[in-house]
Symmetry: C2
Subunit: 142 residues, 2 copies
């Protein structure tokens, strides 16, 4: 169901070897949504990162569309590590298939394989840092 090779293209799995992914894969989740479904709602609790395997979603805040994400992209990175309310609503624009990793699964990974866990979290931190730099540039232009 969950294709290891397909997961390797996501930045979160950068540097993680296929057999490392195989080992932790049983901890991943998988879900399907119809167009119009909202896997994540702004302000609601969330504890998962979502990898878009098939489909496209709209990211909105306070009812205003701010971005679209598609196959190969992720959402929920922040909630995965801080388990705070979602900062945006995610709406499926077409039939959607996602692989998920919950905060609980991440904790299980840390016990199962420290190296893989450390790599995932390092990749996550790099992603967040990239987003901070972008936000920072944006804020300076305003």
């Amino acid at each position: 169901m969950i294709d290891t090779n397909a997961l390797q293209k996501y930045s979160l799995f950068g540097g993680v070897l296929p057999d490392q992914i195989e080992r932790i894969k049983p901890l991943f989740g998988y879900a399907r949504y119809d167009a119009g479904d909202r896997p994540v709602r702004e302000g609601d609790p969330n504890d998962k990162i979502y990898f878009i395997v098939i489909g496209k979603v709209e990211v909105s805040k306070q009812g205003i569309a701010i971005a679209e994400l598609e196959e190969g992209e992720t959402f929920g990175e922040m909630e995965l590590i801080d388990i705070m309310p979602s900062i945006a609503t995610i709406t499926a624009l077409e039939p959607l298939e996602v692989v998920t990793i919950s905060n609980r699964a991440l904790y299980e990974i840390s016990k199962l394989d420290c190296k893989t866990f450390a790599m995932l979290v390092m990749n996550l931190a790099r992603d967040l840092s990239r987003r901070l730099r972008r936000m920072d540039e944006l804020a300076c232009r305003l």
Copy 2:
């Protein structure tokens, strides 16, 4: 020179035990600056996180002061993991003492003690996530 108990109050060392800190401490750096010195300049390469042990600094961007940081706070979190140019200039407002961890040292920690490394990077990711949420709120108010 570097006080283990003092380091425990920084969010980066949250959950890291004193003996874990002792073990990796030889990899840390230490530096002193005079008032007016600039340990970090916007746009220059940096690969270190700085822990303010004594003193106070001004954070500025494009010549405009945007924040002050003091004992117990850090700067350079983003450069530690992505080794990109500094996003701000840091000026010592009074005599300054800092403990530093470089990207190279972080790599050595990952080889020496995977659990401590994973904990540091997780704490770092949480810090970045907190900052993203703050920036996000700020951007929405503009």
